[in-house]
Amino acid sequence: MPKKGAQPLQGEVLQGTLDLLILQTLLLGPAHGHTIAYAIERRSDDVLQVEHGSLYPALHRLEDRGWIASFWGTSDNNRKARYYRLTPKGRKQLAEQTSRWEQLVNAVNRVLRPASE
């Protein structure tokens, strides 16, 4: 349901980017899968559509690596939900990955901009 002119980038999110987005989202505080998915969509102005199907395997992978931890909690509307929070290890990873992402973006931008500039 894109509201603005930009086309949603469905299923085109770069490999590994989803991890970064999840970590960044959790920086704000613990959240469950559903919230994470919507938070990413909202913060990207709905450009990034998180495919819910790939969200959970990604969460599992991150937890396995010890970057996030999970616990069962209760959601706002009083439902049981599995919450995720950032671990110190995950926080470090986030910093690292963010800088790498920025490098990547800069590099790609440099290539895309015409040399004349």
């Binding site: 559903h34 819910h52 992978r61 396995d64 439902r79 049981k80 599995r82």
Partner: protein, 895 residues
């Protein structure tokens, strides 16, 4: 990490399932809030999430180890296949079980002989010293002064040095007696320096062990430590014996401690029961109180702990120098000595005081035979699997068509064969345990405390594991690799058509190897059996029938020489008075007994040939009537009689070998010789007796002389009685007589002469060897028959249609038989030929173990080849004759 994941994957799957459900619920809640109907809300939520099962599968796959997953699958399929053909499985598992079990039993023997370490601190650094005399030959015996000299000079090489001396073994006495509560029983003693136990790092099980100061002065420390096992068997684990008095050979001692459990001395087979300080050595008859100064008394074995300088080496320039120093001070003119060496104590270990240890070679032979049996079993099963792989070609082609890579199919085959091997290993362990129980139960017929310590320790299990794995691979590799190479499409077509040429050739060559191996095994077994026969039928030179032996030892209760002589004289008189006694006499040495007596002699007028050692001879001290009792004919001269007394002229009867060696030209009667240490008392020869086997049943007969007991008293004597009456009854009467004369006198070795001949030096080893190899040989025979039968019946079944066509076209039964037999005979014949060649190649090793039988004995070779050939022919003929009776209609319809 991934392992944790792997084991928790079901837990995680469950978590994710719940989480996804919750996610759906949240989404549905939101959709409802947006105003959708419940139906719409649900389907929208599902649409958005996608296939939740797929998500779960993705997580599950992430959590699993692909490799393990498929192995488990292979195993399940393999197990199903084995269950589907129970006959094949049972035959294969039993065959492998026999192979692996035989191997386990053989390996446990080798393990015991070669690898088992002593239960002491850092056993690997323990050595004993010996003057090397040649490859694998050494003299480990030293005198006490030599020991002290060596110890003083070699401090740099050894961190600790101790000495020990065996009691009763090979010395001029029988075993020692331990008297406790008025009852005397023999015990294997060992005399050790005070630092012996501390050097080995041993702690007492109870009481105390020796302190370093004990045993340094003659007869100063009358204390004993008993082994845990002896404490159990003799004292039934009585904890109050510590501090109690006992006596060794009549010398009072105090029991001060019990050695730790499992420690029975440092020799592999001889079990040490009683430990005494070295200074107590004079309790041994014949050892003087001044033995610590006697250079010539070489009864001490030096055990030391190698320091870093000696680490991992037997010889060292400094040690060689020390050896030369000692030799200069105390020369050994009769020995050809290379240098002084430090030999690892175990493995393989020191066998009493003897220089050469035959155990490694024996262990190697036994292990080699075991491996041969396993190899044959492998061939057999490999053959069966090959047959099956053809039958399963269809299945394999199907799996391949469904997308299984050939790597996967090969792995499937190997998994199955490994599964078979694992089952075979389980069966083998069971069989092996039974076999070792039987082997360990063999009671060595000796008065020495020998023990077969055969247990399945970790080494045996490691070996078994390796053997089983290897077996699985060997067995499965050939059929598996064929799959890989095979064009599966062709295989699929091939199934109904029968064996291709190369496959048949491969199977044939497997049968050739099998027949060859079985024949080799059979021939080795046959040679052993022939040895046993030869030894059994050897003319001993005396008449063992109807002779009863009873050994007595007044020394063990501390009887003096005079009392002992009086006791024996009275006993002999009373025994001779019993009814039905033809004759009775006494002798120091029993034929094929544990002890032999001998020494250098001085023969006046005998020129020692160049390079030959000085004259020596074995001897036996006997009473009157000895030759009559034992049935040894006097060829010339006179018998020893009652008139040969302590005060009369010294006389001896010699055997033919001695007469021939030292008086080759003349009649020895009337000539004189003397014991080398006592040339002042010449011994006059009064008679010559027939050669007889006294030491063992197979060695060439050595010079030997017999002297009257009255002129050379020894306490440990064997009463020999010739009587046609039942031995048990006579023995009972004699024991009563002994008890009347000397109530505490220990009586042992009550055996008929025929029983006595079945001793370690006599027939026993041959019997065990023949039984062991005979059993392995029979296994080989059975395996060969199964192998030939299996392959032939398979090959016949593959050719059914061909045979059907031939019969339909008018071939006669005998023609069909001839056709099939030709191939079988060729295969069996080549197998026999190869087997004979293998055995001939190994005949050099076999020579070491055979007596009076050439390792290329034609009779054995031909006879066993014929037996195996015949058995194999029958195994081949049965399926062939069945094929010849095929109804052509049935055979053709199968096509």
């Amino acid at each position: 990490m991934s392992w944790k994941r792997f084991f928790l994957r079901n837990h995680w799957d469950n978590e994710r399932k719940q989480e996804l459900e919750q996610h759906l619920q949240l989404e549905i809640d939101e959709n409802l809030a947006r105003g959708m109907s419940l139906n719409e809300a649900e389907s929208a939520a599902h649409r958005k999430l996608g296939n939740s099962t797929q998500i779960r599968e993705e997580v599950y796959r992430f959590n699993s180890l692909q490799f393990l997953e498929t192995i488990w699958q292979d195993l399940k399929i393999g197990a199903r296949m084995l269950r589907k053909s129970p006959t094949f499985t049972v035959v294969a598992v039993l065959t492998l079980g026999i192979g692996i079990g035989a191997n386990a039993a053989m390996f446990s023997i080798a393990d015991w002989l070669l690898f088992q370490q002593l239960p002491v601190r850092d056993p690997k650094s323990l050595v004993y010293l010996g003057f090397a005399q040649g490859p694998n030959q050494r003299d480990p015996n030293f005198s006490y002064p030599e020991f002290q000299e060596l110890k003083r000079q070699s401090g740099e090489l050894f961190s600790e040095t101790s000495a020990m001396a065996f009691g009763g073994v090979g010395d001029q006495s029988g075993p020692d007696g331990l008297t406790f509560n008025g009852k005397t029983e023999r015990a294997q003693t060992i005399f050790v320096t005070g630092n012996f136990f501390s050097m080995l790092g041993l702690q007492p099980y109870m009481g105390r062990l020796f302190s370093p100061l004990e045993g340094t002065a003659p007869m100063a420390d009358p204390v004993v430590v008993v082994s845990y096992e002896y404490w159990q068997s003799r004292f039934y684990g009585d904890t109050t014996i510590i501090g109690k008095p006992a006596a060794i050979n009549g010398h009072p001692v105090t029991i001060v401690g019990v050695a730790p459990k499992g420690f029975v001395g440092v020799t592999p087979a001889l079990h040490m029961q009683v430990f005494l300080p070295l200074g107590m050595l004079p309790v041994e008859p014949g050892i003087q109180r001044d033995f610590m100064n006697a250079f010539e008394r070489r009864a001490i074995i030096i055990v030391a702990r190698a320091g870093t300088a000696m680490h991992g080496r037997q010889s060292h320039p400094l040690l060689t120098m020390i050896g030369q120093n000692v030799l200069q001070q105390h020369p050994r003119p009769d020995e050809k000595i290379i240098e002084l060496r430090a030999i690892p104590l175990r493995p393989p270990g020191l066998v009493s005081g003897q220089g050469v240890n035959p155990l490694p070679l024996f262990a190697g032979l036994v292990l080699g035979l075991g491996i041969l049996v396993l190899l044959l079993a492998c061939l057999n099963v490999s053959n069966l699997l090959l047959v099956r792989s053809t039958a399963r070609a269809g299945e394999m082609a199907m799996r391949s068509a469904l997308g299984a890579p050939s790597r996967r199919l090969v792995r499937q085959m190997l998994t199955e064969s490994l599964l078979l091997a694992a089952l075979g290993c389980a069966a083998g362990i069971a069989l092996g345990l039974v076999a070792t129980r039987v082997l360990a139960g063999i009671n060595a017929p000796t008065e020495l405390a020998i023990r077969f310590d055969l247990a399945f320790d970790w080494r045996v299990y490691v070996y078994l594991f390796a053997a089983a794995t290897l077996t699985g691979i060997i067995v499965g590799i050939v059929p598996a690799l064929r799959l890989r190479r095979a064009n599966l499409a062709a295989l699929l077509h091939d199934t109904s058509r029968g064996a291709t040429g190369s496959r048949q050739r491969l199977r044939n060559s497997l049968v050739v190897i099998q027949v060859a191996g079985s024949l080799a095994l059979l021939i080795v077994a046959g040679l052993f059996v022939r040895s046993l026969q030869k030894v059994r039928n050897v003319d001993l030179g005396f008449e063992p029938r109807n002779v009863l032996n009873i050994t007595l030892d007044p020394n063990q209760i501390g009887m003096s020489k005079t009392d002992g002589e009086r006791f024996y004289t009275q006993l002999l008189q009373r025994v001779r008075a019993l009814p039905g006694i033809h004759s009775a006499s006494l002798a120091v040495m029993v034929p094929m007994g544990d002890t032999e007596f001998g020494g250098r002699i001085d023969v006046p007028g005998f020129a020692i040939p160049k390079g030959q050692p000085r004259p020596s001879a074995n001897y036996n001290a006997v009473s009157a009537d000895y030759f009559g009792t034992i049935g040894m004919h006097i060829l010339n001269g006179r018998d020893i009689t009652e008139s040969d007394s302590a005060t009369s002229d010294r006389v001896a009867v010699i055997n033919q070998a001695m007469a021939h060696k030292y008086w080759p030209a003349s009649d020895p009667i009337g000539h004189e010789f003397s014991v080398a240490e006592d040339t002042k008392h010449p011994i006059r020869i009064i008679g010559v007796v027939r050669n007889s086997h006294m030491i063992d049943a197979y060695s060439p007969i050595e010079p030997m002389y017999f002297v009257p007991l009255t002129q050379r008293y020894m306490p440990t004597l064997t009463l020999q009685v010739k009587t046609p009456r039942p031995p048990a009854e006579v023995a009972k009467q004699i024991e009563t007589l002994v008890e009347e004369l000397a109530p505490t006198m220990p009586v042992y070795g009550v055996r008929t002469m025929s029983e006595a001949l079945d001793s370690l030096n006599g027939l026993f080893m041959f019997r065990v060897g023949a039984a062991l190899t005979g059993a392995l040989g029979s296994l080989g025979l059975v395996l060969a028959i199964i192998g030939v039968y299996g392959v032939m019946s398979y090959s016949v079944s593959q050719r059914t249609s061909e045979i059907g066509v031939r019969i339909a076209l008018g071939a006669q039964k005998c023609q069909i038989l001839a056709l099939l037999s030709r191939q079988g005979v060729l295969v069996i014949g080549s197998g026999l030929l190869v087997g004979i060649l293998i055995t001939l190649a190994a005949s050099k090793v076999l020579q070491e173990f055979l007596i009076d039988v050439s390792p290329t004995d034609a009779l054995t070779y031909i006879g066993l080849s014929a037996i195996l050939g015949l058995a194999a022919f029958v195994a081949m003929y049965l399926p062939a004759s069945r094929a010849a009776r095929i109804d052509p209609v049935v055979a053709l319809r199968r096509e």
